[in-house]
Symmetry: C2
DNA sequence: GTCTATAAGATGATAGAC
DNA sequence: GTCTATCATCTTATAGAC
């Protein structure tokens, strides 16, 4: 009667992706192995290969889910908050929370640095994530200017690029120094000048 | 009479450090091995261990030299150029050149993302590099404001942090997209608003 | 200072039983 | 879908000859 390995359908896959996401955020693509995941999830590495034949397949799916979830959150921020400044602050808050509560880099900030060693499908997911961020930021910033609530010294696309760079760079610096306040300072300095 | 392995004193060590620096800028600490260096320099991995017992020793020395050289260049910029705006543009130009001409990340931007997996001595060298940058930027920015050539919306230390974050984040984004112009846009957007 | 030889363990991945 | 077993290769590192 014992069926100790019976699982809720898709449960193992979810655990694997969850674990891989956490590992990548902390250690990067080249800093984790199937073994790390196997030990944490309580399965064998062969089982991971059943679900994700190669490490690139796994990382690509992790990055894909990360982007999809991020997209949903971004939409919900835009939906519930009409103020461009607090929208941008909520945006920065997403990165801040990951950093402060889980000591995590942005998954794509980590993978982005490793771009040169990434399987192409992974690199492309990372690129899509950044594009998603830029598009959202550009819309928020352009809308804010049109409403007279932001005053820009450079075009909205440029400001969007700068803000994203500040987030990713700020996370990296804060993490190296183990100082979340450093990220807050950078995020605030990046957003505040846009306010009219 | 053949002494094929005779070397100019310190020449091999220099070649190893040069090669390791290049590899780290491209692939990161966890993305290269002693084997990569051995093949490129034309020696055996055991010879590298003679000069650098552990990978951490090697990376720490690479990061140390990188910081020292960077410091020299920063001083020379400050010495020959009194204008704060063009000083900052020259600063950004350092990163831009590495990116455009060698497709290189900043060595410490790469290592910084990997902070969690780095041997402590390496992590500390990286932290020193960032401190060096912040100090230089802070001085340039504070001097510029005192002379009335810059007009700051936030204190000089905060602006210095933001500028550094924009450089590191901008390099990562530009590299992931293989688009140097993206870095230029970000660098300009970070510097221009400081001009009085 | 460089080499050969070697170790001990990690790594991504596959074949085939259950 | 998970397991055992196995693989070839890579990785960091050391011992000792030259």
């Amino acid at each position: 009667m014992a069926r100790p390995k019976a699982q809720i359908p898709g449960e193992t896959v979810t655990q694997i992706i969850d674990c891989a996401e956490d590992l990548i955020c902390h250690r990067g693509y080249n800093g984790f192995s199937y073994r790390d995941i196997a030990e944490h999830v309580g399965i064998r590495t062969a089982s991971i290969h059943y679900h994700f034949p190669t490490k690139g397949d796994l990382a690509a799916q992790v990055a894909k889910r990360y982007g999809e979830r991020f997209n949903v959150i971004l939409q919900s921020i835009a939906d519930r908050d009409p103020n461009p400044v607090t929208r941008l602050e909520a945006y920065a808050g997403l990165f801040r929370t990951a950093l402060a509560e889980h000591d995590r880099m942005c998954l794509c900030g980590m993978l982005g640095a490793e771009s040169a060693t990434l399987p192409e499908p992974v690199r492309l997911e990372v690129e899509s994530f950044f594009q998603l961020n830029r598009d959202w930021l550009e819309t928020v910033i352009a809308d804010g200017e049109r409403e007279g609530k932001l005053s820009l010294r450079a075009p909205a696309p440029t400001q969007a690029h700068l803000l994203l760079a500040a987030m990713e760079g700020g996370m990296m610096l804060a993490r190296n120094k183990n100082d979340t306040a450093l990220f807050d300072m950078i995020a605030h300095a990046a957003i505040e000048p846009l306010a009219a």
